[in-house]
């Protein structure tokens, strides 16, 4: 018992303070009309939730969360998987490619997003300058002003940060049973067939890990959006994180922002629970 306390005590205390207390605090303030000083709170029941769910911008932000999460998952299990397998198979300059794909995930996301923003500036951004310099000025765009392009930019950034899925796949590829592949090669299977007919299915558990982690990461992708488009133009790329931030820093009722945070928390828990349930069913022996 003493050993349990020594090893797990600090961890439990940490969770109690930073997770459970924070969640309970958020839930409590979400039913109040209260300022940042947290004084003179007024109980308002479900009013903050009513206002929140009545706000089309919040619903749009939620939808964006799911779209960006979907794009991330799609990129991770296709591009990420392909890159991981190609590198594992011994492409030349492997270390350089690893560095190129993993580096963005190791750098602060705020920095990466800020660099993207600067590069994509319409008038003096590096992308448009380059296009003009090589005679392709007609392709220069207002990347962050056109709503469709701005949406695409955010998706590209999510795709750009697929280093973590590549790491997951690489780790699993290291322990793959190569006899299956050898048999397939002897039977005349080509590389693409090997990749999608054999390796892809046997890495099912990694796909699950990648999917869960990507969904959860995309719900916390505040810095990607805030430092690139700031949720613009006109809120078109807003996600729940930027929505909550904007109301916390510019509004007067912290309870409203708390209600938004609680709804996001509940949705994240729900998504995770659904995924866990699905995997649990799949994992049962038939």
């Amino acid at each position: 018992m003493a050993g349990f306390t020594i090893f797990f005590g600090p961890l439990i205390a940490f969770y109690a303070v930073f997770y459970f207390f924070s969640a309970a605090f958020l839930i409590r303030t979400s039913f109040q009309d209260v300022s940042l000083s947290l004084r003179n709170a007024v109980q308002v029941g479900w009013e903050n939730y009513r206002l929140l769910l009545d706000d089309p911008r919040f619903i749009d932000a939620l939808r964006n969360n799911f779209v960006f999460a979907g794009a991330s998952i799609g990129a991770a299990v296709t591009i990420g998987f392909f890159i991981a397998v190609a590198l594992w198979a011994g492409v030349r300059g492997r270390s350089m490619f690893y560095a190129a794909f993993l580096l963005p995930s190791l750098m602060p996301i705020a920095l990466v997003a800020s660099v993207f923003r600067t590069m994509l500036e319409a008038r003096h951004g590096a992308v448009n300058e380059l296009l003009r310099d090589v005679g392709l000025g007609s392709f220069a765009q207002r990347w962050l002003v056109n709503p469709d392009l701005a949406y695409g930019v955010i998706i590209i950034m999510f795709v750009y940060l697929i280093g973590l899925p590549i790491l997951y796949y690489t780790a699993n590829l290291a322990v793959i049973n190569t006899s299956l592949l050898e048999s397939a090669v002897l039977d005349g299977a080509r590389p693409l067939r090997l990749m999608y007919g054999i390796i892809f299915p046997i890495m099912k558990s990694t796909h699950k890990t990648v999917t869960i982690s990507t969904v959860l990461i995309s719900f916390r992708a505040f810095d990607i959006v805030f430092f690139s488009t700031r949720g613009g133009p006109a809120g078109r790329t807003e996600i729940t994180g930027t929505y909550v931030y904007n109301f916390t820093t510019s509004g007067t009722n912290v309870g409203f922002a708390s209600a938004a945070a609680v709804v996001v928390l509940l949705i994240s828990l729900l998504v995770s629970a659904i995924q866990l349930r699905i995997y649990r069913h799949e994992g049962r022996p038939r």
Binding site: V34, N40, E121, R142, P147, T249, G251, T252
Partner: protein, 498 residues
């Protein structure tokens, strides 16, 4: 323990907490949806991406346009007054803890050095925060009883957020200062200060006034292109046309296309059309966002993009980039609040390494046909004494020095605000050229008779600015947008609700 039972284990306390919270906490006041408590707000921080903020204000309260024009004219320095005897030093050396987010550290250090030299025995320890972080941190620090002797307060809803932890300044000035507060600051500043607190008390001594939106010009570029400072929409259009034909490498008008600043421009235009419009909406005095005045202003700004007066390229410029383009000589004109007036000051430019010797300013050119130049203005940077300070006498001495004493000479060279000190005139030596001085005088003229208070509602400003961006990029009809904004204003989501 299986995964499922773990999930259930987590779900039970979560559900219980929700139910308990919905039923009410023990330290809260009674039920019933009611006035959203005030909140923080940024300030004239040049780098702040969030809109410089809004104060709360009693909805039914009388708007607080200045009762008397704030000073801030450009005049030669007045003859030196009879030197006052230095105040007696405190019995024990005292170190004041001062928290602020503005002005810059260099400026604050100049003020503090001068104060310490003139007040032996009192030291000031400065803690300077970033704007947004400060508005989160200060209320919590004050309610937690942190040791702060002088706190700078954003002139917004922040006053109501923290006033429970502050002492009213009137009695403190009567007891410890060389003269009552009312004799040291112009009445307009005191009137706006009262509007900020729901109980009508004065908790802060504001340093000065600032307004938005204003225009700044690179005079060398204007001269090169044979242009003059534009006064009207037609002048602006002609200016842009000439710049684009003669110097297509230049951005004619630089400003951040962030939602809050587009809202600032539109609200300035409403004051050009109908001075007092913003107050009439802000203080529930009969104004509405779906009124013809706001619709006309909204249309005037968004159509300026359609007509090429404003470039779509500014829509992705953040504050810093817009400033940078102007300072680096890549833009002829720059739009921002009067807190950017430092560019007119030679010492400010020297201290900040800005190589732009010839610059001037003006009120925002008229964007509508039948209008008058105007601006919305409000007090800025209020100094307060927290109730738990143990050095209130010394704190008042510092506040008096900075807001109404010799300290003004130290910060005024940054021109971030027009001083609220009674009878103060900005020394003409601050300006390197006559044109810079004239530009500042032009701005001061509108600042001294603002159309409305710049008592912003930050969260709503973002929504209004986004509606404008939506019309600019998608062509959503203006009539739909103003109806939408009026419904948002009444929705209860924003800090206008009291």
């Amino acid at each position: 323990m299986s995964k499922m039972s773990l999930t259930r284990l987590l779900a039970v306390p979560l559900a219980l907490t929700i139910v308990a919270a919905a039923c009410g906490g023990d330290d809260s006041t009674a039920a019933a949806p009611s006035p959203p408590a005030p909140a923080p707000a940024p300030a004239p921080t040049p780098s702040a991406e969030v809109e410089p903020p809004p104060p709360p204000a009693e909805p039914a309260a009388t708007p607080a346009p200045a009762e008397e024009p704030p000073p801030a004219e450009v005049e030669p320095p007045p003859p030196p007054a009879e030197p006052e005897p230095p105040p007696p030093p405190p019995a024990e050396p005292v170190t004041l803890q001062m928290w602020t987010w503005f002005p810059s550290e260099d400026t604050m250090q100049r003020v503090i050095s001068d104060f310490e030299a003139k007040n032996p025995g009192i030291k000031v320890e400065l803690t300077l925060f970033e704007s947004t972080g400060y508005q989160d941190r200060l209320p919590l620090a004050l309610s937690a009883g942190d040791t702060i002797d002088v706190a700078a307060i954003q002139t917004s809803t922040m006053v109501n957020v923290v006033r429970g932890d502050l002492d009213p300044l009137g009695p403190l000035f009567d007891q410890y200062a060389s003269a009552p507060l009312a004799d040291q600051l112009v009445p307009a500043a005191l009137a706006q200060t009262r509007v900020l607190a729901e109980d009508g008390e004065i908790y802060i001594a504001p340093l000065g006034f600032l307004g938005s939106a204003a225009a700044y010009y690179n005079v060398d570029l204007l001269d090169e292109l044979g242009l003059e400072v534009p006064r009207t929409r037609a002048d602006l259009a002609a200016m842009v046309q000439r710049i684009e034909s003669q110097r297509p490498d230049l951005l004619p008008i630089s400003f951040t296309g962030a939602n809050w600043f587009l809202d600032e421009i539109a609200l300035t235009v409403t004051e050009q059309i109908s001075p007092g419009f913003f107050n009439s909406v802000r203080y529930d005095a009969g104004g509405a966002w779906d009124s013809p005045v706001y619709e006309q202003a909204f249309e005037a700004v968004t159509s300026a993009f359609d007509e090429g007066i404003f470039s779509h390229d500014v829509l992705d410029l953040d504050y810093g980039r817009a400033v940078e383009l102007f300072y680096s000589g890549e833009a002829v004109m720059f739009l921002q609040g009067t807190w950017e007036s430092g560019i007119l000051s030679e010492p400010f430019r020297a201290n900040n390494g800005i190589d732009m010797p010839n610059v001037t300013a003006s009120p925002l050119p008229l964007l509508v046909a039948d209008g008058e130049h105007s601006i919305r203005a409000f007090i800025e940077v209020g100094l307060a004494v927290p109730s738990n300070s143990e050095h209130k006498a010394e704190a008042i001495r510092f506040i008096e020095f900075m807001a109404a004493g010799d300290g003004v000479d130290q910060w005024v060279i940054d021109l971030f605000a027009s001083p609220a000190r009674v009878g103060y005139a900005v020394p003409s030596s601050v300006f390197s050229t006559d044109l810079a001085g004239e530009g500042y005088a032009d701005l001061s003229a509108v600042l001294s008779a603002p159309g409305s208070d710049r008592n912003n509602v930050s969260d709503f400003s973002a929504a209004a600015g986004d509606a404008m961006i939506d019309t600019i990029i998608s062509g959503t009809p203006v009539s739909e947008q103003v109806e939408y904004l009026q419904s948002e204003w009444e929705s209860g989501r924003y800090s206008n609700v009291n």
